[in-house]
Point group: C2
Chain length 504, copies 2
């Protein structure tokens, strides 16, 4: 015994010795009421200082693994679990439940719809256009550190104890003002802080989903694949409305609404729509609000990337267009602009709705990390956000234009869309199957996101793809797009329809 | 115009000027294509430096609210939303949805079951025994700051970008070892990091709840009121098994199981059970595991307060007792011991189960705050945890003994239970209605948690209460318990049954 002790570099030795002894006791290698080696003996056996052993023995006693008899030494206080090691026939080791069989439909579809468990993993050196997460090299760590230290200095311990389900009050006040500056009329509305956009969206769907029948939802087509996933997960049937250069096709929206008015909600992303990057025109925003109001359909507005505008005038969100109307739920987040690692988002909507969401939030996660909320708050009031967004906008705009230029040069047959944000959306002639294209490109060390998963119906958008450029270097943007271009030609030139001059 | 600008101390003036101008544009007070005052004019009007105005104008242009004509000045780029202000008849302001009516049963019960929306609020100067949150004065802020800085220095920006749904790998590895040191056999098991115990519990219930019928759950009676809330929220019928001094009544448990074996799961808190503070004996732990295994009932083990042991030998958790068996799901958290503000907990269980929970977690919140996880991780490997727990244990043990002594002196008629943790549980003669007692005490500036809400059936435990002492000063513990004692006498002495000498 005591031969197999090995020191690891990462933790204090006292703790390592303590844990080592705990194992021996738990395994039953040291029996109950057995005397432990003297501290001097063990220090020799484990090749550690005697003080280390003394401290470790104290810890073992504190944790109830041993007891000391003054003048005699330390003794094992508990009976080990040989089970945990051998697991004999009559031991609980035999207990085996089939968990997969116990998972309900919701849990099962969560796995089936989990894109992360399907997507192609990027190997080393692969040029990956799949991410639309911000480029962390733009993060101003110093400002974040300062924000943390400033806030800790002001509030100290309070930040580490329980907060409120609704959110960190100073942040709520700040974000309410922030939304007012986008033109939102706050009367009758309240805000709930969530762990990012996703939690906000999941809470809203959980509250609005019909429990006795499948729900029905309207959305732009294509749209954010995570939104499609969560709508399906909550058993909504989805009706997609095609996109135009200036946003959702309002005539078709109206036609659909005239046909059936059994929609429980609409999910819309008016600014820098994901994946097309299109910004809905002010005229369409009013038209959409008028329609939704007429048919009394609650609107969930995704504030996605609103901050990453590269050109054109500011456009107020739908919730601002609705004025005092309470039909729009706005879900915001800085994740795509600022720090996704700080899981902070917000839901702005009618007071009665927020009251319900608050209780649901409390039952699910109690509250969002106070550290995250307070760092974000201090970062904002320190004026770092404006400074950062200015910098980020410049850099992303440059990359956006580079990506656009490369696509125009090397992929002339593809239709581009995207007025801002961290990605471009490409539509190829129908002959180009982007899943097949992806397979070919993967072999050449380039990956992207095939567009079909952004479409509501199976088999739609098989000729589209999304290029996320935020985390790709300039030279890789060029190389990657060239490689995609080569593959388009080698794989589809001889395709059934080929590509006529007209198309190229 | 420009008369109503007021500087606030809390943010950079540039931002305040920018926001002020945005409001005017959005309100339509400044019309599209209208020329803004020159920077010199505005600096005089708003009484701020000209450079401030110049910077603010740049910001307005960046955000698309204005455009500049070189040599001429800045002009308004967008049309405001007078709607948002007045809301005329034909505006969307008329749009009013009845959100309360749109909330489904789940959202409604979330509010109905939300204790925070019922509990008595403590006024200033009130002695409150309702909290069992840790005493933040024990928090070692310096160590937390260091943990943050250390981790930022090591990983930097990465901490601020997206993490993994499963959790922060170094923390998972650490906690797996931590659980092994409690005697857990890790084979076939995996871990998911959650935003505290509550998210873990909610995820597990969401995955196991039957969707076509009401579920049925077993638990100790009384038990953690939040657990009761979440079980009800997920439409479980709850069967409570009475407690004994050494834990759940195993005979009754067996009797119930023999009668009906249609239980979907059992929820158990073997260590420092909430609210009774009882620790289940090793013998009972084996017996419970044998029973659950025989009847094939999944066990959710709440690791609540396991670290706050004040006396007696270490007792391994149920998941350790189960050896290689996969029937126990362990949900852990340091919230009650360490920092509740850091929303970090963990679910340890069968690989197939964790795989499903991971996808559910991804669909709901993407992942737990990386900052929270990495601060906790660094704090742990810096060896601060052992140091802190040692300190906290001493302090809470002292308070625990003081509270116990005061209860024995002033409330001799009450039965005490609790071997550790941050609270004591009192059971009075049946004549004492603790809701009525609370009303009387509230008038005297003392509040506590009536015990009935910890019981499964309406009307049970009306003569019980929970005293949380972690955040009450020594003198207030004494004063508070004296006041409770006085009220017990003045309110119930002359009660229907009164209290015979024997009872006092």
């Amino acid at each position: 015994m005591f031969q197999d002790f090995k020191q690891a570099g990462d933790r204090p030795v006292v703790i390592q010795v303590k844990e080592y002894m705990k194992r021996l006791i738990i395994k039953g290698a040291l029996q109950a009421d057995q005397k432990l080696p003297s501290t001097r003996e063990l220090s020799v056996l484990l090749k550690v200082s005697r003080n280390t052993v003394i401290a470790a023995y104290e810890g073992l006693e504190d944790d109830g693994f041993t007891y000391a008899i003054p003048g005699k030494g330390s003794y094992v206080a508990m009976v080990g679990h040989p089970d945990a090691e051998q697991g004999g026939a009559d031991s609980s080791a035999a207990w085996h439940l089939d968990w997969k069989a116990k998972m309900n439909e919701y849990a099962q579809s969560a796995v089936e719809l989990d894109l992360m468990k399907q997507g192609i993993r990027a190997g080393k050196g692969t040029i990956s256009f799949t991410s639309i997460a911000p480029d962390e090299r733009l993060f101003d760590l110093g400002d974040v550190r300062r924000a943390f230290m400033d806030r800790m200095a002001i509030e100290g311990q309070v930040l580490l104890n329980y907060g409120y389900a609704k959110g960190y009050k100073p942040l709520i006040d700040y974000l309410m003002r922030y939304m007012e500056n986008k033109g939102v009329d706050p009367s009758g509305k309240e805000m709930l802080i969530t762990s990012g956009f996703t939690e906000g969206f999941d809470l809203v769907l959980s509250a609005l989903r019909p429990l006795t029948r499948r729900g029905s939802a309207l959305c732009e087509n294509p749209t954010h694949h995570t939104a499609i996933k969560n709508l399906k997960l909550h058993r909504f049937e989805i009706t997609g409305i095609p996109m135009e250069r200036d946003g959702i096709n309002v005539e078709q929206l109206e036609a659909v609404l005239q046909k059936s008015n059994r929609f429980d909600l609409a999910y819309l992303t008016p600014s820098y729509h994901n994946p097309t990057g299109i910004v809905m025109s002010p005229a369409k925003r009013s038209a959409v609000i008028q329609l939704m109001r007429h048919y009394q359909i609650p609107v969930i507005e995704d504030g996605f990337n609103e901050e990453l505008r590269y050109s054109g005038a500011h456009v107020s969100p739908l919730i601002a267009t609705a004025g005092r109307g309470n039909g729009v739920i706005y879900i915001g987040s800085f994740s795509k602009v600022l720090f996704p690692g700080l899981r902070v988002g917000w839901v702005l909507g009618d007071r009665a709705l927020i009251d319900h969401l608050e209780s649901m939030k409390r039952a699910r996660t109690i509250h969002t990390s106070t550290i995250d909320q307070s760092i974000l708050y201090q970062y904002l009031i320190n004026g770092n956000f404006d400074k950062y967004v200015k910098k980020a906008r410049l850099e992303y705009k440059r990359k956006y234009e580079l990506t656009k230029a490369c696509c125009e040069a090397h992929l002339p047959e593809a239709q581009l869309s995207g007025d801002g944000g961290l990605h471009l959306f490409l539509t190829f002639p129908s002959v180009v199957d982007t899943q097949r294209l992806l397979e070919a490109c993967t072999d050449q060390g380039v990956i992207f996101t095939p567009g079909d998963k952004f479409f509501v119906q199976e088999g739609e958008g098989t000729n589209t793809l999304r290029l996320g450029f935020s985390r790709v270097t300039d030279e890789n943007i060029e190389r990657g797009i060239q490689i995609i271009s080569e593959q388009v030609r080698s794989v589809f030139q001889a395709g059934p329809l080929g590509m006529g001059e007209d198309e190229i």
